[in-house]
Amino acid sequence: MTLICESAAEAVAEVEDGSTVLIGGFGMAGMPVALIDALIDQGATDLTVVSNNAGNGDTGLAALLAQGRVRKMVCSFPRQADSYVFDGLYRAGRVELEVVPQGNLAERMRAAGAGIGAFFCPTGVGTPLAEGKETREIDGRTYVLEHPIRGDVALVGAHVADRMGNLVYRKTARNFGPVMATAATTTIVQVARVVETGELDPEAVVTPSIYVDRVVAV
């Protein structure tokens, strides 16, 4: 059952040291900044963070990184115009980096949520990112075997939740949120507002309540 929280602090209260945390967002769109700020205050450390980027400017994920709380980043595109916090830590050897093609990042989390043990994937064949990975030719095409990425926690930015935890998103801020919500043991969501159950169109719900553990309106 979904818990509607009074504060972001309450929502992230149980994140443990050493957790793998899936953080939604593509750049700042869909980035759950309030939850990340609460996680910074909460104190969990030695985290593995899975997110498309490695933080922008000084807020959100960049601030979590700046606090030295992230042991490893798993992402597709750490390098951005304003990713100076991550860049500095990485060059100083203070954070590990696993670069994953963006589609593999999404599909590996989808596999975790869908009970798929591993899948043969066409992306990255013959590139350094497939080195050491099993490959197989199927119907004349070569594929790389990729494994699920599971999270202990997902932090997701959505648009509106109902009190049961059903979610809708807004425009391209949807991005990784729905997939991460399926791939984590505990999914924590920040929304612009919570509405009464029954107010969302059942045909338009993007993340069904079964995937949502905690919601906070910010």
Binding site: F26, P122, G126
Partner: protein, 220 residues
């Protein structure tokens, strides 16, 4: 005369069939959108989960929840749809896009693409969706200058930079010439302010004329 970036984008736009579903990657290739003829019916896909993306947003239309793959605010056209990242990349990897236009550090005569990493020891690697786009679209077009700032050719016999995809590029649009690449090697399709002989002299990759290659590789 060699082509400007806008002229290169116009050349790419010319070769995109009406009604195609197209991804323009990030950076320079996004210029192509400005040269698609009105009523072309071309539908733009952005990897961050949208079909029928409109032009860049200006003024009040800027919405931080609506950006393209380069995180630049964009707009929505009638008939747009949104979907999550796994669905977006399933669309790419499943071969549903007709054309993808990418930048490149190097393209090999066989169509190998290097556009994500210079191999420099101190570079922070970042691949984004490049590897997925490289292998996913039905046809992959590269748009780049033919020569790097140091004068070295970017169309090469074999990529020295780490690969993005193997044999995935179909066409290369540059400031001085357009090429077809693939299993049959590089074929010169058009030149701008230069000649076959000049290019053959400056490039290490074996080069054929379109007439020698047979057929009509210039057609879409």
């Amino acid at each position: 005369m060699s082509l400007t970036r806008d002229e290169m984008a116009a050349m790419v736009a010319r070769d995109i069939p009406a009604g195609s579903f197209v991804n323009l990657g990030i950076g320079q290739p996004t210029l192509v959108a400005d040269f698609l003829p009105e009523g072309s019916g071309v539908v733009l896909h952005t990897e961050n989960g949208m079909l029928n993306m409109g032009p860049a947003a200006v003024g009040d239309a800027v919405d931080q929840d609506l950006t393209n793959a380069g995180k630049i605010p964009v707009t929505e056209l009638p008939g747009a749809s949104y979907f999550h990242h796994a669905d977006s990349f399933a669309m790419m990897r499943g071969g549903h896009l007709d054309v993808c236009v990418l930048g490149a550090f190097q393209v090999a005569g066989n169509g190998d693409l290097a556009n994500w990493h210079t191999g420099a020891a101190d570079a922070i690697p970042a691949v984004g969706g490049a590897m997925d786009l490289a292998i996913g679209a039905k046809r992959v077009f590269v748009m780049m200058t033919l020569f790097a700032k140091d004068g070295s050719p970017k169309l090469v016999p074999s990529c020295t930079y780490p690969l993005t995809g193997v044999g995935c590029v179909d066409r290369v649009y540059t400031d001085v010439a357009t090429f077809q690449v693939g299993p049959e090697g590089a074929v010169l399709l058009e030149t701008f302010g230069t000649t076959f002989d000049e290019l053959a002299a400056r490039l290490d990759v074996p080069l054929r004329r379109a007439e020698e290659a047979g057929g009509d590789p210039g057609s879409s």
